[in-house]
Symmetry: C2
Subunit: 475 residues, 2 copies
Amino acid sequence: MAKENFVEQIADIEADFPRWYTDVVVKTGLVDYGPVKGTMVIRPYGYAIWENIQSQLDKRFKATGHRNAYFPLLIPMSFFTKEAEHVEGFAPEVAVVTHAGGEELAEPLAIRPTSETIFGSMYSKWIQSYRDLPVLINQWANVMRWEKTTRPFLRTSEFLWQEGHTAHSSEEEALDETMKMLGVYKEFAENCLAIPVICGRKTEKEKFAGAVATFGMEAMMKDGKSLQAGTTHYLGQNFAKAFDIKYLDKDGVQKYVYTSSWGVSTRLIGALIMAHGDSRGLVLPPVVAPVQVVIIPIAAKKGGVLEACADLKQKLESAGVRVTLDDGDNSPGWKFNEWEMKGVPLRIELGPRDIENGKAMIFRRDSLEKSEYALDGIADTVTNLLSAVQKDMLESARKRRDGRIVYADDLNGILQGVEGGNFVKAGWCGLRGCEDKIKTETAATARVFAEGETSCKCAVCGKKAEHTVIFARAY
Amino acid sequence: MAKENFVEQIADIEADFPRWYTDVVVKTGLVDYGPVKGTMVIRPYGYAIWENIQSQLDKRFKATGHRNAYFPLLIPMSFFTKEAEHVEGFAPEVAVVTHAGGEELAEPLAIRPTSETIFGSMYSKWIQSYRDLPVLINQWANVMRWEKTTRPFLRTSEFLWQEGHTAHSSEEEALDETMKMLGVYKEFAENCLAIPVICGRKTEKEKFAGAVATFGMEAMMKDGKSLQAGTTHYLGQNFAKAFDIKYLDKDGVQKYVYTSSWGVSTRLIGALIMAHGDSRGLVLPPVVAPVQVVIIPIAAKKGGVLEACADLKQKLESAGVRVTLDDGDNSPGWKFNEWEMKGVPLRIELGPRDIENGKAMIFRRDSLEKSEYALDGIADTVTNLLSAVQKDMLESARKRRDGRIVYADDLNGILQGVEGGNFVKAGWCGLRGCEDKIKTETAATARVFAEGETSCKCAVCGKKAEHTVIFARAY
């Protein structure tokens, strides 16, 4: 790799946000384009973020009583036709296996775009009695949705995700699960990704194909657009009826179960990049950063410097910090740029004078502040700084977002709001025609209902508003 | 689930080992058959074993300098034709996507049966200079090989695995990697799965399609057959040349890299079952057992029993033990049978009299021994017992296997050896004809070369032996 100033290779974040994004994801080694159009290779630096996301979510799923399993990739095409809305929503995006083992298959097989149907077919076999309920299963898997326009992490034909699928004996319990997992996602997004999210119900138009109700969490990116960061679905008895998932209740009556499903994906990595990144590149929150601290030796050839750096690294590792010592040949300035671009939360600079004084310089990637700290007790100092970075990143993202939520009374207000890079709250009568008109005129879509808020009139038709809705342009 | 005696539902292990196997995998809730022929659903109890296997292997891969990544599922069919042996080996088993997004694809895409080709295509882009080497990447993924005859875990059209793919500047380094990872697998198999393995090189006939040399580890199952539990491949420059993976060396010359690949899969769960299981069902080694200890209350309705059990559970959890308290309605005897079938290493029985005496009965699944232990210091007792079970299971499997390795001088000796449920060591001249003849006449295949041993003559043709080979019937 040539010794250039990386920073200059990234497009200006203010002038060209989309270009800045693709520059950052590729040049920091998060991802590369796969040989098949619309596919991505998640490189080690990007995959390490995903591993941290997985481990944080997985322990939350287990703490709420879920267990992991693995269901087949290939689903008979006929399964999709069993739920009318579901097939309409997913059939156009499906990748189809028609040949295998040198022969044409009797029935074409879909590569799962989502797994409600195959979970449904197995649940109908496993669930017989009220004693078998609830069933609370999650799977970590790859899924495939053939998309025309793709962008790494945000929209690719194949992506990685988790999908929870649960079955319950009552509507209330299934709805509780749907809301509980939305809460788990929100707490995770805020405390691990440092991304504040707005959660709420989606409109009929925006809901999952086959759901009774979909709830989403929406995150504001630095360009003011919204990214749907996760969804939970209350499926009612739609899939239970399509797949005949029945149980014998205590009262001796056969009843259909109520189901839910919920998922987040590698899209979250895109959210991290666009919620926190700046002109120098990535800014990663410590909880999910693959490298939390990079140590850069100054005047590395002077006696004792590398030894002191190695000693420091050892101390931080013992304290459970993910730390890298960059003892490569490049200049300190070059290393500063590279690790800043890679978004490492803290940089520690250690040179002969620092060692003599028993001090080290620590640079915070989020605030760009640099201060001197005593080497004595440095592990505690670093641990505390990492917590502070995590907390401050959430607060600063929240402040940024809250300053960009505006209200509008009419179509023109919505247009001006979203053109100014805002989320816009406006009244909506509940009719599809008005929702469609907002999209046509402003390129904004209904993200979620603003829970607990009421508007008096619909911004389009002026009739009585049924909901206050958050409108935004979205990824 | 009906209150029957589970044990009677399992076929007799002595009389019908294959039937015993399929009974055990299904009835213990490890796995179920998927709707598409040859596919399996890995249920939570089975998947929890896989998660334990993953976490043990993953830390070993990382400790040896490897990083995880994720490469696309779909590979252009043309990639396979670039390496002549590789396409011959894998093309017949490939599942092919011909349509996606409602259109026929310009080029059909293979669902990866293994990923040397797609790693190769990316490595040729990423590797430019000697400074970029070595590249040490692993991925956890699903793969697909269309098989005619399938059996859960052992051979299914889709399975889960990890595949390491590495690139090096010298033959020596790539070969070192190939042997190092074989060593990692062996240490893992013995210390985590409690399965003794024999490692060695494979014959040309049995090697991976596209490799220069394949090394395998072979484990003996309870019926005396061998199961290939993992392989590592030295690929030489075969894939480097097929995918043009070149680097500029220090001397200014463009050179091809040397590559290796290595993998283990959900097959290991099949190995666990058949290496340790007995007439009562599964016997799981503590390191990978989803539940290490089950607590069964005796006379649960008596005052204080459930409280004491819950207290015990809490103590064991604090000591890092994976423990379940079965406070369900079934009788203790029924619970004993169920948890024995599920292979839980230790069962603790706790009733009013035990509590009064400050003692508990502990039953060891591996040795079927039951002894009384003081409740005082029980967490240490349990931790020590779990270590003892782990160690004893390996020793007992080793003793069993070592007693079933025999030598043969001729074809008839091989036949008698494998019919008696043994591994047979015999001389082989190195010619394919003799290897084929052994397979035809005895249904045994060459598993691995018995490293360091020499035989004087080939068991088939009587000419000078090149290798001593371990022959066995195999899964």
